[in-house]
């Protein structure tokens, strides 16, 4: 076969195989050059910024840049060495440097992430650094007993290199004990990983509610005559096109204490004027508003799958004696699985990363993981924010990969 192909030639005498390969390579290049400008744009304005941010989660020079003497001592002495007079002398000299460069706060903050309450140790000691006299060990312990805490020395050893995994340790609600082993932090201090899990649970609840609400509606739209279905479709598409902030505002207006729903309930006498229900600025409010915002993302993929399911299948099942429930369970439902998969994954992905609605109507207990990232951004804890953002990104990308595997990105449709 290949022999025949290699013997064939084009009009100008070149082997056909080579000419075809050249032509195909050219077509490939042409297609790629059309995509190239956009790819470059996305890489520069989108992928690079995210990559840079990820780097911040493992790079923090807040401590390392002001401790040249300590870094030397840590290099000379292996891990586990009990700090001696030389170590304290190095520390004293670095504290002096911190005082001159006014970096004690930054250095203290970096250690504070790992051992809480240590920021003041640095600022306090740096303030008195000029008066320190040998023997330094005694002098420093005189300022604060905490200087002999092995956890502080372990933290300083790790932080003397700008590259660190400390922020991931914190993000997973772990800490290092005096021996340097990873242990879980106290029950009441487990914030981050707990919220991470909670975010996925809330997203799952929202997805489930969306599926329950969207399924009958999509079915109705898919089985109605086209003219009626198009008319009803507007009721799904209008929220989809309406500004997110408008929809969030509407829910505040509807659900708040003096809002429309409470007023109706009071007017109807169902609840007393003093018994108004708290439906917003808590987790309930977040879930209601997010279900409303994400519902069209569930209806649309379900609808596009249900529309092409031939009604004759269910009729056939009925004519063969199946009950309506059996027909639904064994004939109709399996055919809607691609739509369910697409809708569920899309809504789940969007819900996990939601920020605006929880921030506006979430109150104290309705906050999601994105809000925690934003919290650390406003506190200028860049590395911590970056580590949390990376955790969130990994979760979303795994789901995105799953979506691409199971459904295919090119199946994504809008309206």
């Amino acid at each position: 076969m290949s022999d025949v192909a290699s013997q064939l030639t084009t009009a100008d005498g070149r082997p056909l195989k080579a000419a075809l390969a050249t032509a195909q390579a050219r077509a490939k290049r042409r297609a790629f050059f059309l995509v190239l400008p956009l790819l470059a744009f996305i890489v520069i304005t989108f992928a690079v910024p995210i990559g840079q941010m990820l780097q911040r989660s493992v790079y923090n020079d807040g401590f390392s840049q002001t401790v040249p003497a300590l870094t030397q001592w840590f290099e000379a002495n292996p891990k586990g060495t009990v700090p001696d007079e030389a170590a304290y002398a190095a520390l004293a000299s670095d504290l002096n440097l911190m005082k001159e460069t006014r970096m004690a706060g930054d250095a203290g903050t970096r250690i504070n992430y790992v051992v809480s309450g240590m920021r003041s140790l640095f600022t306090k000691s740096a303030r008195k650094a000029a008066d320190l006299e040998p023997p330094y060990m005694a002098a420093l312990l005189d300022i604060d007993e905490d200087w002999q805490d092995p956890r502080v020395w372990n933290a300083m050893r790790t932080a003397s290199s700008p590259w660190t995994l400390d922020f991931y340790t914190i993000a997973f609600d772990r800490e290092r004990d005096a021996d340097g082993k990873l242990v879980k932090v106290d029950e009441n201090q487990r914030i981050y990983f707990k919220l991470y899990i909670k975010t996925f649970v809330v997203a799952a609840v929202i997805t489930a509610i969306c599926l329950l609400l969207a399924f009958p509606v999509a079915h109705l739209l898919a089985t109605l005559p086209m003219a009626k279905a198009n008319l009803l479709m507007i009721l799904v598409l209008l929220p989809f096109w309406t500004s997110l902030l408008v929809r969030t505002t509407s829910w505040i207006v509807l659900l708040q204490g003096q809002g429309v729903i409470n007023s109706i309930l009071v007017a109807l006498g169902i609840i007393g004027d003093d018994g108004r229900i708290q439906m917003i600025y808590n987790q309930t409010g977040t879930i209601i508003a997010m279900v409303h915002i994400l519902l069209p993302f569930m209806v649309l993929p379900l609808y596009s799958v249900m529309r092409v399911i031939p009604p004759s299948y269910t009729r056939a099942a009925r004519s063969l004696g199946a009950t309506s429930w059996t027909t639904f369970r064994r004939i109709y439902l399996p055919q809607t699985i691609p739509g369910i998969g697409a809708g569920v994954l899309l809504v789940f992905i969007l819900a996990v990363g939601y920020y605006i609605t929880p921030a506006l109507v979430g109150g104290a207990d309705g906050q999601l993981f994105s809000n925690m990232v934003q919290f650390h951004m406003t506190k200028a804890n860049w590395s911590m924010a970056a580590a949390l953002a990376t955790m969130l990104l990994v979760g979303v990308l795994v789901l995105y990969w799953l979506y691409d595997r199971l459904i295919g990105i090119d199946k994504l449709k809008l309206g």
Partner: protein
């Protein structure tokens, strides 16, 4: 959907329940949007219907919140409404400034994402496109990656865009360029999805026909391809515009005081003191989204007719 004649009473009951459920879901979807429209004409600063509103007393309604939208931030809002007043309004009113910013940023972000996105969609829909799946996944990712991560990354990057090369070269934060670039990146997935969907029904033999009749690739594109995919391109552009017009988180992180947009003003309005003026803005935005939805639906039908897809 009518029930077959052989349906049992139980099935009839279930069918009625099913219809009720559907109606309730539709009410859930649409009522939050409709409920705020009359409230924006409330004469009182309340977020609920007053008795006078319910009895359709004209006294219960007013345009005061729309008026306050115009006058907030003006230097001399009490003056006679002459030319100077309107000029004051145009230059100083907070919401007018925000609207101008939203339109300017939205316009450039839309141009950028539509041009780049359409080119890329043309490449992606060619059968010989290499690594299509991976590239498609990268190009759609701005829609999938949580906005807070995008905004955080862009905040660091735009503070010093040349940091990867190790030197300083100004900043893009607090500039129009920065916000436009961010919004263009966020709008691109919508253009890609819409235009590739249009191209999926495109008859490639039309291109070969044009070529065999002597048209060069450029002429083929403008005379044959472009008119056929134009409805899809415009819908994609509208999606990109709406994305930018509705975007608040990137603006919060990147924009300075000069680039405040409508969503940004709404954000601070909702967070700080929610006043019915917000409802007036919301009502205007609902009207805009109804207009956009209508245009997109008309375009979609036109596109389907052009491409010969059976009308749905």
């Amino acid at each position: 959907m009518a029930l077959p004649t052989y349906a049992s009473p139980l099935e009839r009951a279930w069918h009625a329940t099913y219809l009720v459920i559907c109606v309730l879901v539709f009410v859930f979807l649409i009522s939050p949007i409709l409920v705020i429209v009359p409230l924006s004409f409330n004469a009182e600063p309340y977020f609920t219907y007053t008795e006078r509103m319910l009895s359709f007393d004209a006294e219960g309604y007013s345009m005061r919140w729309y008026d306050s939208l115009l006058t907030t931030g003006m230097q001399n809002s009490e003056a006679v409404r002459d030319g100077a007043w309107w000029s004051d309004l145009w230059h100083n009113a907070d919401w007018v400034k925000a609207a101008k910013n939203s339109v300017i940023i939205g316009f450039w972000a839309t141009i950028l994402s539509t041009v780049l996105g359409t080119l890329a969609a043309l490449g992606l829909s060619r059968p010989e496109m290499p690594w299509r799946r991976t590239i498609m996944a990268i190009l759609i990712s701005p829609m999938i990656v949580p906005i807070i991560i995008v905004a955080t990354g862009m905040f660091f990057f735009y503070s010093n865009p040349c940091a990867i090369f190790g030197f300083e070269c100004g900043r893009l934060t607090s500039t129009y360029t920065g916000v436009v670039l961010a919004h263009a990146a966020l709008g691109i997935p919508f253009v890609i999805i819409t235009v590739t969907a249009t191209l999926s029904g495109f008859d490639q033999s039309l291109i070969r026909a044009a070529a065999s009749l002597g048209a060069n690739p450029r002429r083929t594109f403008f005379k044959v391809v472009m008119p056929l995919i134009l409805p899809g391109v415009i819908s994609g552009g509208l999606f990109a515009f709406v994305t930018s017009f509705d975007e608040v988180v990137a603006v919060l992180f990147i924009a300075g005081p000069d680039q405040q947009t409508i969503p940004r003003e709404m954000w601070s309005g909702i967070r700080e003191q929610i006043s019915p003026a917000i409802l007036a803005v919301a009502t205007i935005l609902v009207v805009i989204s109804i207009a956009l939805l209508t245009v997109v639906e008309i375009l979609r039908r036109r596109s389907e007719r052009l491409r010969g897809v059976a009308a749905h």
